[in-house]
Amino acid sequence: MTLQPLGIVVAYLLVALGVGLLAYRVGGSDAEDFYLASRTLGTLVLLFTTFATLLSAFTFFGGPNLAYAAGPEWILVMGVMDGVLFAVLWYVIGYRQWLIGRARDYVTLGEMLGDRFASPLLRALVAGVSLLWLFPYVMLQQMGAGEALRGLTAGAIPYWGGAALITVFMIVYVMVAALRGVAWTDTLQGLFMLSVLWVAVVWVVSAIGGVGAATEGMIAANPDFAALGGGLYSPQFIISSAVTIAFGVTMFPQINQRFFVAKSATVLKRSFALWPVLVLLLFVPAFMLGAWAVGLPIEVPEGANVLSVLLAEYTPTWFAALVVAGAMAAMMSSSDSMLLSGSSYFTRDLYRPLVSPDASDRREAWIARLGVAAFATLAFLASLTRPGTLIEVGDTAFSGFALLAPPVIIALYREATTRDGMLVGIAVPQALYLLHVLVPATTVPVGNTTVELLARSYGGWDVALAFMLLGAALTVGVSALSSPSFGEDADRFAVGGD
């Protein structure tokens, strides 16, 4: 009985795989088609593939879990600021990159910067940093899937089993489908998930007597939940999370690469305007379900996903399985976007320039696939150690990526930026942030007071915010002090007219 949902999940994943295969047959086989679907994605597909890439374990399971634990204000943090701020960055970074990328046929961020600053080192640095932070984010999907299946099957499938299942699907999928495949399934899954999520809300809410009753129950269980702020949600926390997430998202390989793939400026414009509405449609129901669950007589075991438990309790087994299957498939396809983009960073920006400049395309394709398999397997092994909650792991990755954003924005807009400025502006904040992530905080006595060193936040502010400012200052400052090296060409980033 408890294994029946597993059948639904596996069947769904196989169908998603089939769609990917179909798309692959439609597309060409060169690198630009493999990674960028030949820059031909239309509004619906671009919007949903970007959207579905955000439909990760972080939003699906981490968000409701946090709303369940701390209150529904996460809607504001994740949804609104990410919705508005990310949309603005979509224009500021995305449109600019699209203009530059289209004129010069770039496929990756590292390639674009490396070409402009005539620096294979910068190219490798950007790729290396991106792959580094991609690792915890892939892990996050495996952790989310492990918990989701365990919750759905009431423990019949252990945590590692679910994590292993999604890892296998991820690897197989990325091997057989390319961006076109990923984008197609993203679109189907984005639409599917939005619909089932709303069905789930209607189902659960009608079972517990309406929205008013659900909110009353929530307030009765925890009066603090209806109030804006309080508990975890300080202004510092809200601003820190929103800024690091929004800037971080733009530098994720799979999102950043999407900036190159739009068919026309019109596609970018439409996606930009629809973005806040899509964010609204997804996050409000998902996170309110998590918050309402507080007032319901359900038991959420330590480490379990509140959404799976809630659905298992209030909806039929097949429906709960369908939602979890959809969520896992969405996570799978977002992981695939990540792995696919990651592999293009690896082969184009690291392997080819540094190891084997004249490797054949065939060899490069194999290296990419082996790299994906190794990367996903290592992330799977690391996910078994359960290094933190979904939100904690995700937040670390977002902040790491966010540090890349200020130097990149400056490079896109300031002609006076130099290679040295970029190298220092990227490397120094990354090194400092890594130190804060990897080394535990220590308290040092200074006079008759104590100072905390290497903490992740100071006075409630994420330490990554300070490093973002530092990165911007270093990029501008070092650029002013150094002169352009041989081969640097600011004209490569000119977008005409200015």
Partner: protein, 83 residues
């Protein structure tokens, strides 16, 4: 390139959109309206406002703020295009 007042108004509009994405003036308020916290209703309305503002911007300010010469056909689609 010199910026016109209209360009700066867009920058201001974006700043306002971002700043009030969180209804700071409702901080601590636990008023419930029609079954949902009042700040959630603000969120719903604000997202719609943002979407409308973005759509307007995409129509009017998009290429000018980026300094792209839309006349040259660089920033606009080559065929088909906006209604």
């Amino acid at each position: 390139m010199t910026r016109s007042i209209r360009d700066w108004l867009w920058v201001l509009a974006f700043a306002v959109l971002i700043t009030f994405s969180v209804p700071w003036f409702l901080w601590g308020s636990s008023t419930v309206v029609a079954g949902l916290p009042i700040w959630l209703w603000w969120h719903v309305g604000w997202m719609v406002v943002a979407s409308v503002a973005f759509a307007l911007f995409a129509r009017t300010g998009w290429d000018r703020l980026m300094g792209v010469d839309a006349e040259a056909g660089f920033g606009t689609p080559r065929r088909g295009g906006d209604p």
